[in-house]
Symmetry: C2
Subunit: 237 residues, 2 copies
């Protein structure tokens, strides 16, 4: 009975860190006094301590304390004792490499599959999918595998960006990149726009927030899906 | 005595494939009757044959014939017999995986270091650097390594894109991504804007085209460098 909160972004334009979802997070983590923060993705290269402090200041507003996973000598024990887990955004390659090196992929997967609430933003949401292959990040380090938690039956493209019709830039659009992924892979990909999140409860995964999301499936035209869409219909095996 | 033509993009807005550099390519490949095309990056998932045909039609205009490397039973022999090599753009992960699987990294490196002219666009330029870690592409397949040809003493970021001051998008800018690379790596990175290319001749690598390029070095502010800049001063070891 997984409990998931998978957000495209931590921050929307003009608001503070996590501000746009703070009431929903209070509800999602209700009853939880402390969460374990995974700072490995290090946005802009900040330290684990600096990053944990940013998360801590936001969660203080909803009376939840935050501990960084790097503060523990035994990180697997920390996961096994966690009331809730939050993985922040940054660089997905760095995040996944560190998770493998610390033997945390299976540890986190295990507790989340047993009901510990999991919250991710951006890179932390990307790894909730089957693989990290639809990340937008640069491969700044070489992880031992691209396979990730697979809490959901598809992949996420966070910060999904529609093509700009006025652009003269010839680099690939996001949609082209995802199409290239589907020439070689069959995993469905959900493009989550900034301001959208997925809520997973009682084995249902539902689109939340004010925006549509764009679903890409191999060999099919993309679909625009409205808030409250239930993604149980995705039956990729 | 390497001969290199490393272009940010194959195509600039409003022009046909390779059109903006065709006169320079005629000069670069002067005396060459046939070049070997590496179509592995498969932009938008097109086939090796389709991609080779696109390259062939452009090079016909300057009276150079094009053979796809996939047309040869023994690709290493094809490289060893090539008069010139062209690696087209597309997905860098796919390109690098295929080059390793076909044992072509060392084969191509060897002939280019012995004077066979090498032309790359986009992904084909990215791999001229020391590693593919500053690609913009999605990791749609898992290559055995991120190390690439290292024809030049630094890395390339092709299709370099300046931040859009009007954007409300919270995904990382290109500059932020390269900064994240430099928190963990010391290799200099040259952001090549669309319309720029590097010309390598007589152990000098020079910026060509009408635009400035942006050089990122670990721990230093970025530099804007004008056309005709000679990159010999980059002494990364």
């Amino acid at each position: 009975m997984k409990k998931l909160f998978i957000a495209s972004t931590s921050t929307v334009h003009g608001k503070a860190y996590l501000e746009y979802i703070l009431p929903e997070l209070a509800h999602f983590f209700s009853g939880t006094k402390e969460i374990l923060f995974v700072p490995f993705a290090r946005p802009n290269g900040i330290s684990f301590d600096e990053y944990t402090q940013i998360a801590r200041e936001s969660f203080e507003k909803i009376h939840i304390s935050v501990k960084g996973i790097h503060e523990y000598r035994n990180m697997v024990d920390a996961v096994n004792n966690a009331e809730g887990i939050f993985t922040g955004g940054g660089n997905t390659f760095l995040l996944v490499k560190e998770l493998y090196e610390q033997k945390l992929i299976s540890a986190i997967k295990n507790v989340v599959e047993n009901g510990v609430p999991y919250f991710g933003t951006s890179a932390g949401s990307n790894i909730a999918g089957l693989t990290m292959q639809t990340t937008n990040d640069m491969p700044i380090v070489y992880p031992p595998s691209f396979n990730t938690f697979g809490f959901i039956n598809f992949n996420i493209n966070p910060h999904y960006l529609d093509p700009n019709p006025d652009s003269t830039h010839m680099g690939e659009t996001r949609e082209t990149r995802i199409h290239e992924f589907h020439t070689l892979n069959a995993i469905p990909v959900l493009g989550l726009r900034e301001g959208s999140w997925l809520l997973g409860e009682r084995n249902k995964v539902t689109l939340k927030g004010p925006l549509m999301a764009r679903l890409f499936q191999k060999g099919k035209p993309p679909l625009e899906l409205p808030p409250e869409t239930d993604f149980s219909f995705l039956t990729y095996v």
